[in-house]
Amino acid sequence: MARTPLTFTLNDAETGVFVVPGSNLLDVLRRGAGDLTPKQGCAQGTCGSCTVLIDGVPHLSCLTLAETVEGRRIDTTGGLAGGPDLHPLQQAVMEGFAAQCGFCTAGMLMAAKALLDRTPNPTRDEVIEAISGNLCRCTGYEPIVDAILTASARMQGRTA
């Protein structure tokens, strides 16, 4: 099958892959680029576990035609930590028991990162709205919301 060359920036790294026409971005990130952090939950836009940032804006990678990201910037949870140092969001999620099975976590983190990049001091309601497209069947959401608010406070040099 003819494959199409595709180049994009994945978490600061210039990335080139060959894609099968009609592939979704999630498959390309996982199988093509080897970034296993975004997850496939529903493959139909309901669960949010495949959420990545395209040019800083949350998108569902399972519903994104791979060809449309040519030359664009993709951020995934794989790029959050700086070496051994976890991103404040990751740290807060870990400390606050905001991940149980962990399947939704990568999508939650990207939705939360997009929120904090735009709104460094969100209200609780803004946090709830920002993750409203991400399903979690373990935690009941409260620990996740708390963790995002904790991370926001720490990134602003406040205590939550």
């Binding site: 099958m1 199409t4 026409p21 009609g22 979704n24 493959a43 139909q44 836009g45 949010g48 959420t51 804006v57 949350p58 998108h59 569902l60 399972c62 519903l63 994104t64 035609l65 060809e67 449309t68 939705a111 997009a114 709205e129 920002a130 409203s132 497209g133 991400n134």
Partner: protein, 266 residues
């Protein structure tokens, strides 16, 4: 499934490339789901590099490029009347992707934005230059082979446009039913040419013409809207599906219409 992806520089060229086994890619939220689930009814995805996401005032209306996303609608001051509609589409990531043009083709239970545009009597501009009122666009949708370039929405007075989405799962479920109404003269106590549209009450959004007729010249009081509520399902074709039965939809449609018309007074 072997798929081909074809990218054209302009909408017009993309429109010419469409055929029976081709689908046009808007925001991808419906088309890529079909791809992911192995839909065999098409084998070509047609794209255009010409994506119009602009929103601008134009004469008596506001023109929305077909490539504008729900998030673009929410970011536009000109479209404040439609914010209540764009806000209930999907979650934030879906709103960053789903386009106004794509919503016009969304089959039930999707297409809440198209329901609002039907009530607002919007005009659809096709890539080939043809202009269609929303109602004719929707009735010919199943047989249509073309691409939408933009939609022009007439301006409405403050408080004259109302929208409600009814879903079984709060707050983010799909529509069991959606309702949109344009109520000219609502402030004066005597309604003018009312337009009411129902979503998910037929294969496409549909107008409740008998109810519109029954409201003309009346005011929004319990007694005055009663005749309209009685006939509000005339001409609608609600389906039995996993969200609700046809019987249930017909039973509750007048209740939801009453709530929409009377606002907070239930």
């Amino acid at each position: 499934m072997t798929l081909a992806v074809e990218t054209y520089p302009t909408l017009r060229e993309a429109a010419q490339a469409l055929g029976d086994r081709a689908r046009y890619l808007g925001g991808g939220t419906l088309l890529m789901r079909a791809v992911n689930y192995g839909d065999q009814s098409f084998d070509r995805i047609v794209r255009s590099r010409e994506v119009d996401r602009t929103v601008r005032s134009e004469g008596q209306g506001i023109r929305i490029g077909a490539g504008a996303t729900m998030a673009d609608v929410l970011a536009s001051r000109d479209l404040i009347a439609l914010h209540s509609v764009a806000r209930i589409v999907g979650g934030p990531a879906v709103r960053n992707m789903a386009t106004v043009g794509g919503n016009l083709f969304a089959a039930s239970p999707y297409g809440d934005f198209a329901t609002a545009l039907l009530a607002l009597d919007a005009t659809v501009q096709m890539a080939d230059g043809q202009n269609l009122p929303m109602e004719s666009f929707l009735s010919g949708r199943a047989r249509m082979r073309g691409i939408v370039a933009s939609v022009t929405v007439p301006r409405v007075g403050e408080g004259e446009f109302r929208f409600a989405k009814v879903s079984r799962i709060k707050p983010k479920g799909v529509s069991m039913m959606s309702l949109a109404a344009v109520l000219p003269g609502v402030g004066s106590g005597r309604l003018g040419d009312v337009r009411i549209a129902f979503g998910t009450m037929g294969p496409t959004p549909l107008r409740a013409k008998a109810a519109e007729q029954a409201l003309r010249g009346r005011g929004l009081t319990d007694a005055e809207i009663e005749p309209a509520l009685k006939v509000c399902c005339d001409g609608l074709q609600p389906a039995d599906d996993e969200l609700a039965t046809e019987w249930y939809r017909r039973e509750v449609a007048p209740v939801h219409l009453k709530r929409l018309l009377l606002g907070g007074r239930r």
